[in-house]
Symmetry: C2
Subunit: 432 residues, 2 copies
Amino acid sequence: MKTRTVPSRLYLTEKQMPEKWMNVRAVMKNKPAPMIHPGTREPLDFSGIEPVFCQEVIRQELDNDTLYVPIPSEVLRYYRMFRPSPLCRAYELEEALGTPAKIYYKFEGNNTSGSHKLNSAAPQAYYAKQQGLSGITTETGAGQWGTALSMACAHFKLDLTVFMVKVSAEQKPYRKAVMETYGATVIPSPSATTDIGKKILSDHPGTGGSLGCAISEAVEVAIKSGGAMRYTLGSVLNHVLLHQSVIGLESKAAMEALGEYPDVVIGCAGGGSNLGGIIAPFVADKLSGKNVRLLAVEPASCPSLTKGKFEYDFGDTGCITPMIKMYTLGYDFIPPPDHAGGLRYHGMSPIISKLYEDKLMDAIAVTEKEVFDAAKLFAKCETILPAPESAHAIRAAIFEAEKCKVTGEAKTILFGLSGTGYFDLAAYTKNA
Amino acid sequence: MKTRTVPSRLYLTEKQMPEKWMNVRAVMKNKPAPMIHPGTREPLDFSGIEPVFCQEVIRQELDNDTLYVPIPSEVLRYYRMFRPSPLCRAYELEEALGTPAKIYYKFEGNNTSGSHKLNSAAPQAYYAKQQGLSGITTETGAGQWGTALSMACAHFKLDLTVFMVKVSAEQKPYRKAVMETYGATVIPSPSATTDIGKKILSDHPGTGGSLGCAISEAVEVAIKSGGAMRYTLGSVLNHVLLHQSVIGLESKAAMEALGEYPDVVIGCAGGGSNLGGIIAPFVADKLSGKNVRLLAVEPASCPSLTKGKFEYDFGDTGCITPMIKMYTLGYDFIPPPDHAGGLRYHGMSPIISKLYEDKLMDAIAVTEKEVFDAAKLFAKCETILPAPESAHAIRAAIFEAEKCKVTGEAKTILFGLSGTGYFDLAAYTKNA
């Protein structure tokens, strides 16, 4: 057994917590391309987006220059109820693998949303309240984002309407129940409450819905609210990655406190919010010449980085959003059934896409079976039952640790454990 | 808003974690009565219990004298993956109540079992392994204990057979799935795998089972294993409360680090394990003359302390266990349906019973509606969705804080938040 010189779980103190987010675009030599209007193909400016998103969020979305953005004190106050999250040393996993590698993971699942999504839900709810809005709308598939936003809206006293993909609402009634406990209105989508919902219901009676349809309904309600509401999104966009940088900043600070620095930083990649968050400060280091490898892990069933094209595409299947320059499998790509619901997005964050295009980051795709084998080993070793999404990063970390076993290198591996699998047990049962 | 001088969440460092459990019986002037044989009514000694429980556990069960018991290093190693648990200051709840009181809670739900049960599961699995057993058996109702024990058995490489009350196994398939993911064999009870199960199935075809029946099956399998297995229990008994003292020891150490000491310590009371754990060091203080109030909170539907009798009774409905001197509603008491499954036990820990009999502790009973109203308010304020069991303690803490609002006293309240409600959402939906 290795000598255990660092703690199994390191929590920064409240005073050590970051008070600023990091905007990685400020250090990127090649910036991500702007969103464009699908008709004119002109870049969208503030006024073009204003009917949909909150003003402060748009400013953050369009700001490619400011490196550090202060976290509002009201958001810090909220963060302190579930942050800092622990930096964990995977001693038991290392021992099970017999690897000389040192494996660290940043665990974001220790809050009732069960994932990192609360990091962006809190500021998005706060900015909406500051703007004087009565409420916000959103969509949710697997339910983590909707849960996180319902928690944040309960705190900031804001109405929330969540369009939840109908088939998910039926399969995961408890996710719906959590959101309702926090006061959100949850509407299975497609619904008869919107024009686009009615049209879809009429064209496709009996449909189970899709994320694309739910986005369309949530945007419609916001736009037609007469300015009282705005729409919010939990991944892909630049401002979401900005908020999620708190994951990487805390990770780096905790590793520094231990005298450690990662050789490789690994994150699962769906829309890119968790990955973009954990790598943020390490991207800056890499661009300053530091030798650190960044690795995205996606499902083989939805391989946007490893099999997609880097081009302008719609963010939704309904083609009502602006066009985004990203790695994409095509807006009409329908992934085969897969239980990592949070990774089933056809595209990828423009920031992540640009970093990958510029060869600043690597990507691999892993199969569902590989993922669940890794998840079960991890659960038994490290006590935490991981979300299927997060288990993609575990799988890659194990690959890296196994390589070290062959080469004898004691590399330092850091990965993001973005959430827990308590609401994904049907998937575990299927992959038993 | 109050000035926030102490952190919202305080984690002790790994080095500050207790390395000994506290045996509260050593400081009690009047000891709890011994278990007796139902036939001879003679106190049971080591050899009388040995066929059922692990040897080290029996030594702990019978030891009324040793105040501090070292936590084995292997158990400490396991504890460090989910402990220390945070001591939380309920700033947002205080603000919502407008109370001058300071409310602290010790949160034991930040692990995959979702509760404090892992604190005793780990040593019980460890001692079984040390004794050279191949496996252990247990029963589970709501599923928290079974989940905790399956996690601990995965770590200590021990077989585990869990008899799960059939109706719970059907209502909570995901609890069963978690246990199976960790490698446990889960058998809905009554089953055809035991003699007593077969008899019950024959006498009561179609029964949904009961905790009493599941206990009987688990004990039968252990006794008939030819010494290869033993039975384990997750509450009520003295050794379980010993292991749970880690909750109170950490709480006291964290409060001392903040310069605080509680005026009142509150815990929900089912079998008494969580309550006995959080109050342990404060009982010792109280017996040394310190002015601290200890308060048990039980469901009005199963009020063993407030409405029961203090007498010898069976621990199970099947009358196969030894007799225990405790507050009890009668071994054949069947509580009305109630969603705090973990609090539906007819009796109460002998230690808690004796402290209550000797007027060292108070008790109140609260209704299901009061409990869920408190749970929902707490969830919205403090972000954590509490287990219905734990919400009994929240309800009482709110009562205390409201009294302070009337009197103007800035009392310091500490309560145990023993677990999360992620698997109890049907109950939340019912009480929406």
